[in-house]
Symmetry: C2
Subunit: 171 residues, 2 copies
DNA sequence: ATATATCCCCAGTAAGTACATCGGGATTGC
DNA sequence: GCAATCCCGATGTACTTACTGGGGATATAT
């Protein structure tokens, strides 16, 4: 029997707005590429190096980088001294862009777009709630670029949200 | 061979902020109970009736209502002429309350609370992004009550979000 | 007391998803 | 040619989702 996983995976505690491992890994690798881009826009980083720096399973990261490349967010070079680099400056790539490449569109209700589901009777206005929730997420994720993340910059809107009492507490 | 599903389920198009069938069904049933409560706070509705009105698989709804009851959001009565009713007025139950009963806390990164994950190097500030995103969702879901949903009322904050160009478009 | 209606609990199941891993092929640089 | 690196599709395992099912507990009506 081949032992595949190694450490048994933690049991999932469901939640709406689930950030998957794929997205998390992608963002982390992209911040590394953003730093490299700032030093020299032509510099390339290898999968192996990115994986080591951010502690990501290398083969898994490889397939994630492939998706980002197909989506046009990064460029690749094969062969000795190959690697990846951003396809555009870090201030032109938003967190939402990256999420959408890996997990598809932000926000879904029973696997459909919120504005597409139809509700009947007193449930009718649920649709508005979902659309507003999606808009709220977008107001953060579409306004934050890779450049903002590496610099630790926040928008005024984010500052307001983070200043709400309990914003940093689990609930 | 027992045919279990009937209609084959649609293939999932991944997304962050996934509203599950459980949550969707729960909300729909709760809006029905909210209307009943407004007419007469002691009135009870049966699973079968709720299921029929909102087109929800009855046995599945039964287990959802069980969770809502254990969480204290609704009250039940067994026997002939039994059924469910809200445990409190509709303006004291928020959409977030209901989501949390069924899907756990809003927002998770790789199955952990956003504020709990630690990032290294240039990825450090990702945590702030996730916390702000969660706060943004809360600003809608914790402020919208069942009473608001059945009345079709929106907060000023929601109006602003919904007024953003493209808010109703898929992206 | 009995019949009937309803909730209650726990087990099971088919399909799909998440998170990887593997083997080998295609490019590039020396 | 040879080594390094990306590229691509297949495979694997554990887990989750969205249900279904059987039978027990409780309430009401007669």
């Amino acid at each position: 029997m081949t032992v595949h996983g190694g450490i048994p995976r933690k049991k999932r505690d469901n939640a709406s707005m689930q950030i998957s491992a794929r997205v998390d890994y992608a963002l982390r690798a992209m911040t590394e590429l953003a730093v490299a881009y700032d030093e020299d826009p032509t510099r390339r980083e290898k999968t192996e190096v990115l994986a080591a720096r951010q502690d990501i399973p290398p083969r898994f990261l490889e397939s994630i980088l492939g998706q980002l490349r197909k989506a046009g967010l990064i460029l690749s070079q094969r062969g000795a001294d190959g690697g990846y680099r951003l396809a555009m400056p870090p201030d032109e790539i938003t967190v939402a862009d990256i999420i959408r490449v890996l997990d598809g569109p932000l926000g879904a209700v029973r696997n459909d777009a919120p504005e597409a589901v139809t509700y009947t009777g007193p449930a009718e206005h649920l649709r508005t709630v979902w659309v507003a929730t999606r808009a709220a997420m977008r107001s953060v994720l579409e306004k934050t670029t890779l450049a903002d993340v590496v610099a630790g910059r926040t928008t005024d809107e984010m500052d307001d949200l983070l200043a709400v009492p309990g914003a940093w507490d689990r609930r």
